[in-house]
Subunit: 517 residues, 2 copies
């Protein structure tokens, strides 16, 4: 068994049976090993942003890591933006990045680069093999780290570590490190604050936004009057009718300051103290009042359900009384008709989407309205862009769908960010993934047009317009989709959008709706 074959065994022993890939020559022995191992499911992405974004979506839904296979430094570099998002989401992932053998590196062949330096900023753990002898130990550690943190492991695989014979050995599943225990002092402080009443909020993030954890949070809210909030960007929220609804900290600084301004005590469960996404002249970076007391109870990676369970128990909250459960839409609430706007799309999708849907939201400026309406939609998962690196939506939807057969994935996709990884539509087509992508075609980086106004440019001149508008020519998403084997339709009225969306729900995807708004 060579190193590449042993690496397959290590991955499989750790429950990693899906490999999103775009290999090159230096990874060819690993490709051959994957080929001899039909238990591994290999999914090709036509650029590495698709590969890493899909691995993120997969793991968010499967709750276990996928592997990726990336070609040297440039292949890794292409995937870094979505690794950045995945790292912020605390998604477990094991990246396998090929490299030249150590003896070939000093020759500085054209594809040589400093892979370790490229990997570190977007990885929680980076390891480099130096021979096939140590492969099992280091690859196992890569898996263990990905599952323990959870986070991004990047394993650099020199070609000779793949092609050389590895020592025979038993391969066993790595035991992830136990998550750090919940800090007793913080817990006690939080309980005291909750029991004191007053203007106290719990800011939830990570797995505290799964349905069972939210129930506990809702029980605490019912017992103590505390407000519940979610972070602005979240890996996955289980929400919809019957589940505890939680508003997010708004993205715009001024709105966030207003939303958080009356909170005297903020309890963090799986979240960080909220900060502004960007710095602006004269505006604060921290979004809570300066005198707001912050009580960090638990971080992402800890057992957040247990933390909430302990809080609930100590404040006397029980699941028999849970605040904030969403009501379902009533039958007579019909979707809007009229001109096609982002609001109309939000209304229609939130009312018509099926139970178990998975929303992948990269609609940015276009879909804030959707979140507030879809509290009342059938129970669903909501996945969003977590690190602000645009170009996650289409791959995220692909990966989520691959992990979730039988569930409808709905991509809420801005056009500007969608173009970053438009290649992911091909992966959706090839894998017959049940995804409907709704492109909010406003034909501009609209969010930036607002930001330009914020810096004092009342009327953009030619240079700014040329950098912020996606017209001249406008993108034709129906053709783009068709070019990658995905059927699509363009609509520009609410009624035609509704018809198209209903049709997309009746038949398995992929499908794309270009919604001109």
């Amino acid at each position: 068994m060579n190193g590449a074959e042993l690496l397959c065994e290590v991955l499989l022993a750790n429950g990693i049976d899906t490999c999103f890939a775009n290999p090159g020559t230096s990874e060819m022995h690993f490709v051959a090993a994957l080929d001899r191992n039909p238990r591994m499911r290999c999914v090709l992405g036509l650029s590495e942003g698709v590969v890493t974004g899909a691995a993120d979506g997969y793991a968010r839904m499967a709750d276990r890591p996928a592997a990726t296979l990336l070609h040297l430094g440039p292949g890794l570099a292409n995937g870094l933006a979505n690794l950045h998002n995945a790292r912020r989401a605390r998604t477990p992932m094991v990246n396998v990045v090929g490299d030249h053998p150590a003896y070939h590196l000093p020759l500085d062949a054209p594809l040589t680069s400093d892979i370790d330096s490229l990997a570190r900023p977007m990885s929680n753990w980076v390891g480099r093999l130096t021979s096939a002898d140590e492969l099992a130990a280091i690859a196992s550690e890569a898996c263990r780290q990905a599952m323990s943190i959870p986070g991004i492991s990047t394993l650099i695989l020199p070609a000779d570590a793949a092609w050389n014979e590895a020592p025979a050995q038993a391969v066993v599943r790595a035991e992830p490190a136990a998550p750090p225990a919940i800090d007793e002092a913080a817990l006690a402080e939080a309980v005291a604050a909750l029991e004191a009443g007053g203007r106290t909020a719990i800011l939830l993030g990570g797995t505290a936004l799964r349905a069972d954890a939210l129930n506990l949070a809702g029980a605490i809210a019912a017992a103590t009057g505390a407000r519940l909030l979610a972070e602005t960007s979240n890996a996955r929220i289980e929400r919809g009718a019957g589940r505890v609804a939680v508003d997010r900290v708004p993205y715009p600084v001024d709105l966030a300051l207003r939303a958080l301004g009356d909170i005297d005590t903020l309890i963090l469960v799986g979240s960080k103290a909220p900060v502004a996404f960007f710095a602006y002249p004269g505006k604060p970076g921290r979004l809570t009042r300066e005198d707001c007391r912050i009580i960090p109870v638990a971080e992402k990676g800890q057992d957040l359900r247990a933390a909430l369970g302990q809080l609930a128990e100590r404040v006397g909250a029980t699941l028999s009384r849970v605040a904030g459960r969403s009501q379902a839409f009533e039958a007579e609430e019909q979707p809007a008709d009229g001109p096609l706007t982002a609001e109309a799309i939000a209304t229609i999708v939130s009312r018509l989407m099926p139970e178990g849907a998975i929303i992948c939201d990269e609609a940015l400026t276009s879909a804030s309205n959707f979140f507030s309406q879809s509290h009342r939609s059938p129970p669903h998962d909501f996945l969003s862009i977590t690190g602000g690196a645009i170009g996650i939506g289409i791959p995220l939807a692909a990966g989520a769908a691959f992990a979730s057969p039988g569930r409808k994935v709905i991509g809420m996709q801005a056009d500007g960010s969608g173009m970053y990884t438009v290649q992911g539509l091909w992966t959706q087509a090839r894998e017959r993934l049940d995804v409907v992508t709704i492109v909010f075609a406003n034909r501009a980086y609209r969010i930036l047009e607002g930001e330009l106004k914020n810096v004092g440019v009342a009327a953009a001149g030619p240079n700014a317009r040329r950098m912020l508008e996606l017209d001249d020519p406008h993108l034709d998403w129906v053709h783009l989709a068709k070019g990658m084997g995905v059927e699509g339709v363009r609509v520009d009225t609410a009624a035609s959008f509704r018809t198209a969306f209903e049709a997309s729900l009746r038949q398995p995807g992929p499908f794309l709706i270009e919604a001109v708004i």
Copy 2:
């Protein structure tokens, strides 16, 4: 004048008036400054691989740097693969990468990342501003470094250095460092070797492949019998009928070993001693014989024309006798007809392309035949992928065309690599660039299928096929192009290819021909 406006002035003072861009919120003050400065020409790319690839193509043709504008770490990351190629091409470029102000970084807002670490592997120089006060000095140094090396300067621009008032100051053009003088001892050694006769070759790279330098090399060859060779991958070769033809070191290791095996002395002018692109079990990394004497006369960045001039003078070579000038095709040599193959395309393009054409070659397995035929084409420039990071072709063509009004750019584009930065077609459309893109649609990563055989997999199984074939579904390039505003046509016979190519030459582009081979 704020820092952003001053940065524009510094760039313009250094002759940098073109900015390939994809900005974000943290760069909005720079966008506003560009907007107030109509002398700057801003070109939007819909992903950063397009931005950096286009800046590379621009500088290869303009012989001066463009700027790029990139959004934080992830925006830079998306552009790194083509920066890798540009660095290998020794292309001058000044990247401006936005960042949060220093006071905002400790808050670890979602888009925070270690930009410096990401930038270093693919940059020759990295600088970070800490205030608007020092902006002129550091930005000027960024320009100076880009032009001196020549190479990639990456300037990290925190938002507050852009928005704060900069001290009033005169902005002057930076003086690039003089290139290192040609080493007298190496020159003397090379002259002695050339005069001794024997099996001596000159390996040319960089600007030694421009027409005037090639003339000198041809004169040396005529006077001494030395062979001329070019590196495998080159930023730009001036070639075609009437110019000195130079064969490249072959890409496959076995062919390269054979091509170089009879060389006793190899003189390097703008080149490095040839090494294998990848390591293979049991094959050497250095491609020359172990006993081959290597004489490094000059490196890229030195005055290679002067080095060749000195060599010529000392061996008594004159431009009245130049070896290896290509003959033009004779009128009766008609392009091939019959089934559409890569060879047929090579034959047709090499015979029909107009004088002054710029070939951007990322056809990989499909176009090796083209290079040998097009020695006899009308004089043209030939730009190739220099760092092995695929996804350069479409943006490179866009940038080259932007720099070269009135010249036809012909992209020879493999389908797999073309998909990496397919978004560049939109930039071609928006800027009305005169590019015809020929997609060699073999519907596979054919080069890797060969490599898989090399590692002993006679017949690929499902996993390998799923990673190496671009079928199921196949890509429809005509639809893809149309989706981005580029007209296109699909052809599958030599005759229909010829008709389409001739039509594309009669009218300014952009245009795309999907050549199904």
